[in-house]
Each structure stands twice: as C-alpha cells, then as structure tokens.
Amino acid sequence: MRYYFDASALVKRFKPEKGQETVRKIIHEASLGAHEIHSIYWAKAEFYVAMRRGNVPQKLAARNLRALGRIILFNPVTSEIVDDASNLTYEFNLHAADAVHLATCTNLGCEAILTDDEHMVGGSVKRHLEKHAVKLINLKETP
C-alpha cells in the first residue's frame, strides 16, 4: 500500500496518544517492505516548528527526522504541486501547508493519507480524496 503522511502524522510517531500505534505499525510494516510511505520535503520544516513549539531540543528533532527519513520518502515541492495546492486553498478554505499535503498525496497517487489535523478530515476534503481513490485515515479515530 502507498501511504501519505502529513506533518501531524509524522509528529504523532513521537507523541504517546491516540493514533500513535497506527502510525507505528504502518512504519514498521513499511520497513519490512510491505508499504511505501511518502511525505513532502516541506513537512520537515513543519515538523521542526511543531517540535520547537513543544520545547523539543533541536538536536533531538533532527535525530527524529533522520530516523524517519530512513523509511519515509520526502518528495520535492514542485511547481505542479504548488499550482494544485493554490487551487485547493480556495476550494476547501485550507491553510497553504494543508493544501500542499493534499495536492502532493493525490499527485503521487497515494492510496491512503494519515492525518491528525482537523482541517484535513472535513467532509469536503474527504469527498475530494474519495474522488482520487484516497482513503482518509483520521488518527483521532484509530488506536
């Protein structure tokens, strides 16, 4: 299966709370070759900001990202993604970062997206993902 992780799913791996076990299991299975996990390079900056806001030392945040980088493919931000994301910001009233994740996920042909972000789980976004045959996995509703 080809998964897409947004920044909140990446942070979730390091936060013991609802949804963490799902993220942990998918990463473990991917490292055994069962799945591909994609994200976007931009998510690294978002991850850093979230870690800084949580008072996590920079060196530890960097180690976290290095470990994730051994299994997750961080795809480059392209002009095509930014163009698609720009349209999505109007269509679904999204933050630029959320729109970039949504556009990247569909452009890469991912089959499922993992998120803990409430802006990504709204009905209209869900329908958009369904149109692109992407399963929305809301980490608030998983173990």
């Binding site: 791996r13 963490q20 978002e46 949580g54 051994r70 933050h95 630029a96 970062a97």
Partner: protein, 89 residues
Amino acid sequence: MKRMVRKNYLLPAEITERLRSMVKSGRYATESEVIRKSLLHTIDLEERRAEELSKELDELAEETARHLPKGKTAGELVHEAHLEESHSV
C-alpha cells in the same frame, strides 16, 4: 515436505558462475540450497533492520514525549505551527 523445483530458471551469468563455485567449494549441496539460504539470510537481515528502526523510533519517542506538552495533540501542535507561519500566534 512439499518441494517446488524450478529447473529452467534464468539467472545472469555472473550469478550462475558464483553459484557454481559455491557448490564446488563443498559448503552447499546444490545451487538451489545456496539460493534458499541466501534468501533466508536476506529476509533475516531485513527483519532485524526493521526491528532496529522501530526500537530506535520508540526510544526517540520516549525522549521526545518528555518535552512535548501533554495537553496538546500532534494535530494541534502542527495547527499552531501553521498559525505561527501566518503570524497569528
């Protein structure tokens, strides 16, 4: 034990050569045995690598969780990061 033997497999010449020399060395009875043991070894290595990564991530998560605020979810932290990017916070 049910055994499946595929006799007419195609392998690159350099691999066939190596297989033959390993059988000649006397350490393996057949070329199939070399392939079977090599695959099992590779699978073991992959499983060990996956376990090591999971363990490393678990240790990092434990260390990171000591710093992260308990009252906020991962989604809320990232949402705040988005607001910070737009200078709202």
